[in-house]
């Protein structure tokens, strides 16, 4: 499955629903999406990864790049992920210390600064 990206607003945050595979080929599409959102002034992002079927280090790099971008505007980038095979990758790379990871979009959005 290719990468699918849908964005919506929820309680002052921009939720990016990501589906499919994030790899060396598709990750640039996610990067463009995040860069575009930040350039349009959306600094509080929630990336919903519940429908992601595959994630590699290129995808992790895009998420880290997005985090740096929103932090430059005092924003935030939070993840929604309950899939153990993805969480394992975040643990191995040390990214659980970097990202706040939530079980649901509602709880991620509720943690956002007003």
């Amino acid at each position: 499955m290719d990468l699918s990206l849908d964005t919506r607003e929820q309680a002052g945050c921009t939720v990016i629903e990501v589906g499919g595979e994030i790899d060396v080929y598709t990750a640039p599409k996610l990067r463009e999406c995040i860069v575009d959102l930040v350039n349009r002034g959306n600094y509080h992002l929630v990336v919903d990864m519940e429908d992601v079927e595959f994630l590699d280090s290129t995808g992790l790099g895009v998420l880290v790049g997005g985090l740096k971008r929103v932090r430059a505007h005092d924003g935030s980038l939070r993840l929604v992920c309950t899939q153990e095979r993805l969480l394992k990758i975040f643990r191995i790379t040390g990214l659980t210390k970097v990202f706040a990871i939530f079980d649901t979009v509602d709880t991620a959005v509720a943690e956002q600064p007003a």
């Binding site: 790899d23 080929y25 280090s57 985090l67 990758i89 191995i92 040390g94 210390k97 970097v98 990202f99």
Partner: protein
């Protein structure tokens, strides 16, 4: 089944094809779902490494992969270029985490992820290029029989 060999252009779009082949071969080798996840990610990262290496060397040579399920599964990815150096990346940490209030150093390089994920990995470099070999034992990651 024995051996399957692939020669793949250094096009990121082809990495997904390699993943599909890897999954099929791993399933035929008797690996379970957890090990198949490792195969998919390991092969994908190894292909990314090979693409990065060939790109850095300015080479348009293809990479090659060999799958062998004679005993478990062995996957070797070969490239005529040297593999890139590993690096740690400083990243601003989430203020909510207790142990790293400001900056965390994360392992975003592909080889670190491969070695963190897979128990049996060999990397070799020589005048003819580099190879990365990953091995899984048969039955690893499979659900126990009732």
């Amino acid at each position: 089944m024995g051996k399957v060999e692939l020669r793949v252009d250094q096009d990121p779009a082809h990495v997904r094809v390699v993943r599909l082949v890897s999954t099929a071969v791993g399933r035929m080798a008797g690996l379970g779902d957890e090990a198949l996840d490792e195969v998919r990610l390991g092969v994908s990262e190894a292909c990314g490494l090979a693409i990065d290496a060939l790109d850095a060397a300015g080479s348009d040579a293809p990479m090659s992969l060999e799958f062998d399920d004679t005993t478990g599964l062995r996957v070797t990815v070969r490239t005529p270029a040297a593999l890139p150096e590993r690096q740690q990346v400083p990243v601003p940490a989430d203020p909510a985490t207790e142990d790293t209030p400001h900056t965390a150093h994360v392992l975003l390089d592909r080889l670190a992820l491969i070695e963190g994920l897979i128990d049996d990995v060999d990397v070799e470099s020589g005048p003819d290029g580099s190879s990365l070999t990953m091995r899984w034992k048969a039955g690893v990651g499979a659900a126990p029989r009732p």
